[in-house]
């Protein structure tokens, strides 16, 4: 079956993604009319309430889901290839805990400004990134393992500060931050899209241009170097790019874990590990995965939204358990 579908797998994936987009637009608390979907999106239609729901609520949310899912999966794929560590993940570099600290400070100090939260989260993520890269530079850059270790250290440090602040604060503020950390696309607007999309496109374009270099880095630093790859500058460039992309996504969507870790693994199983294939596949699968998860989050419980992080983490652990059980038959 898989062999038969092989030549068409890209086409299949794209068609599946488009169908998913349409289905997700139509699903939600208010059921919309299928026949009105197209005219309401691109034209004037009679049902103005439906058009408003579509254009102001569902479309930005869908688009944000697409770019956020694609961005997280792309970052994960790039980091896994760069570090030759299959457990690398955009959140391993302290970005989520940095954003968490920023969000906490914004909620506690400036509760009246709604803009402050994503902004503070972004700067918190940036702070974490600077700390991680600083520690890694002290450690000598020998391997990306140094960066990962520095990331773990910074993560714990910033989480400790966040926990302390939340412990001291009032329950309502703590609730808000914790809920935000679990991830949601409810904050979607066109401004978020305008920030994340350029980051995503730059990352993807550079990833495609440097695909051979990234392929060589999958082997060893020595091999890459002997093939003429400037290992350190390339690693630093992509580290910064992925960190910036993830920071933007986290600032608007909160912490959506497991997408960056799980999707590249899935794509490697389905499409192979070459950089170009991995990047394209990860973006397509990542965006499809996230809009489905968001559709689930909006509809699973009546009149209540589930946090995205809860669903992605649940599905993620299930996926890795499945992988573990079949690893005996086929090496990853």
């Amino acid at each position: 079956m898989m062999k038969l579908l092989r030549p068409f797998r890209w086409l299949l994936l794209i068609i599946l993604l488009l169908l998913s987009c349409l289905w997700c637009l139509n699903t939600g608390a208010v059921a919309l009319d299928w026949q009105l979907l197209w005219p309401c999106l691109f034209d004037q239609c009679d049902a103005s309430a439906q058009q408003q729901i579509l254009l102001e609520l569902r479309l930005p949310r869908l688009l944000l889901g697409l770019v956020a899912g694609a961005g997280l999966a792309l970052s994960g794929a790039l980091l896994q290839n760069l570090s030759r560590n299959m457990l690398a993940d955009p959140y391993l570099f302290g970005i989520i805990s940095g954003a968490g600290l920023g969000a906490t400070l914004a909620t506690l100090l400036l509760p009246q400004y709604a803009v402050a939260l994503p902004l503070a989260a972004f700067f918190g993520a940036l702070l974490a990134m600077v700390l991680v890269l600083g520690f890694a530079a002290l450690g000598g850059w020998q391997r990306l393992d140094t960066v990962i270790l520095a990331g773990v250290a910074v993560s714990f440090l910033l989480s400790a500060v966040t926990s302390l602040l939340l412990y001291q604060s009032e329950a309502f503020a703590a609730n808000r931050v914790i809920f935000w950390l679990m991830g949601s696309l409810a904050r979607a607007d066109y401004q978020a899209l305008a920030v994340i999309t350029p980051c995503l496109l730059v990352c993807f374009a550079l990833g495609c241009l440097y695909r051979r270099q990234l392929d060589a880095l999958q082997w060893s630093d020595q091999t890459a170097q002997s093939l003429g790859v400037a290992v350190l500058p390339i690693r630093l460039l992509f580290l910064l790019l992925t960190a910036a992309l993830t920071a933007c996504i986290v600032a608007y969507c909160g912490g959506i874990g497991f997408v960056g870790l799980m999707i590249p693994h899935l794509v490697r199983l389905l499409f192979g590990g070459q950089t170009l294939v991995l990047l394209c596949g990860s973006m397509l699968c990542g965006s499809m995965f996230l809009i489905w998860v968001d559709a689930g989050a909006r509809t699973l419980l009546p009149e209540q939204e589930l946090p995205l992080g809860v669903i992605t983490a649940g599905l993620g652990s299930l996926f890795f358990l499945l992988l573990l059980s079949r690893k005996g038959q086929r090496p990853l």
């Binding site: 030759r84 241009l209 440097y210 051979r212 270099q213 392929d215 060589a216 999958q218 082997w219 060893s220 020595q222 091999t223 170097q225 002997s226 093939l227 003429g228 790859v229 400037a230 490697r268 192979g272 590990g273 070459q274 090496p331 990853l332």
Partner: protein, 274 residues
């Protein structure tokens, strides 16, 4: 220096060595390292580096490939300082096959070999029809035609080594630096790989565990012991029974290989070491 005889007159033409290094040193430990290595290599020379474990064979190869920065001394490639080459120029002039334990398990043999194109391609250039043909040519040369689409993780150690060698060949460099190229290989492939280098115009520097392979396929040997060059010269000059017994700490006998007349070293087995 080469001496040409032309219509009765003697012309002395100096031919630039392909690679030379002077006074090359490197420390991998405060009390250990390579000390003052000098060598000169002309085009189509084949230099075998031999010596016990930890003598500095791999380090010397990495220094010559420009992967390590020497503590002192300089390396000249085609008359130019190696440190003045750009990364891509260096990769087009010399190719290194290192001893790696890591491998990208998700890639196929074809994708591994394709890496050899890297120094020849601009960022936006694709792998075209011509490149595909060259890749299948080198795959044929190492006998892996039927494994092109196989995953790297399904290969045996020897097959992986041959795939890596195909990658090095595709890199198209005139100078090959091979670290233990015959590792993991069956006897037939050991000879096939080395013969494929001898039959071309490539220049080779390789480290060897098997002294007899080194003697058969190299015209120069360099014997290292604890980072020092103990002997350098033709296999006949270097493979002296007394010297080899001293360096490797085991009694040995040197006669000549009945097939090619090159020196053949036989070490005393088991307890016969006195």
């Amino acid at each position: 220096m080469n001496l040409f005889h032309l219509s009765g007159l003697n012309f002395q033409v100096s031919i630039q060595p392909l690679l030379s290094c002077h006074n090359l040193s490197f420390r991998w430990h405060p009390h250990a390292g390579l000390q003052q290595v000098d060598l000169t290599l002309h085009a189509q020379d084949r230099l075998g580096i031999i010596g016990p474990n930890g003598a500095g064979k791999s380090t010397l190869l990495k220094l010559l490939a420009g992967l390590l920065r020497p503590a002192s001394g300089e390396i000249l490639l085609c008359g130019q300082l190696l440190s003045h080459y750009s990364l891509a120029e260096k990769a087009r002039s010399l190719a290194l096959l290192a001893q790696d334990t890591e491998q990208a398990t998700a890639s196929t043999v074809f994708e591994l070999v394709e890496l050899g194109l890297l120094p020849h391609k601009q960022l936006w250039q694709r792998t075209d029809q011509h490149d595909q043909i060259r890749i299948s040519q080198v795959l044929t040369q190492v006998g892996l035609t039927d494994k092109a689409t196989a995953s790297v993780s399904s290969l045996s150690g020897g097959e992986l080594q041959r795939a890596q060698f195909a990658r090095v060949l595709l890199q198209g460099a005139k100078l090959l630096l091979l670290d233990e190229p015959t590792n993991h290989l069956d006897v037939q492939y050991q000879h096939q790989l080395l013969q494929s280098i001898v039959s071309t115009e490539l220049t080779l520097i390789a480290s060897f565990h098997d002294l007899n392979l080194a003697a058969s396929y190299c015209n120069q040997l360099l014997l290292l012991q604890q980072g020092k060059v103990v002997a350098v010269g033709s296999p006949e000059q270097v493979l002296q029974p007394k010297l080899i017994s001293e360096v490797f700490g085991r009694r040995c006998l040197v006669d000549s290989n009945p097939f090619d007349g090159k020196p053949r070293v036989t070490f005393a087995p088991g307890a016969c070491n006195d």
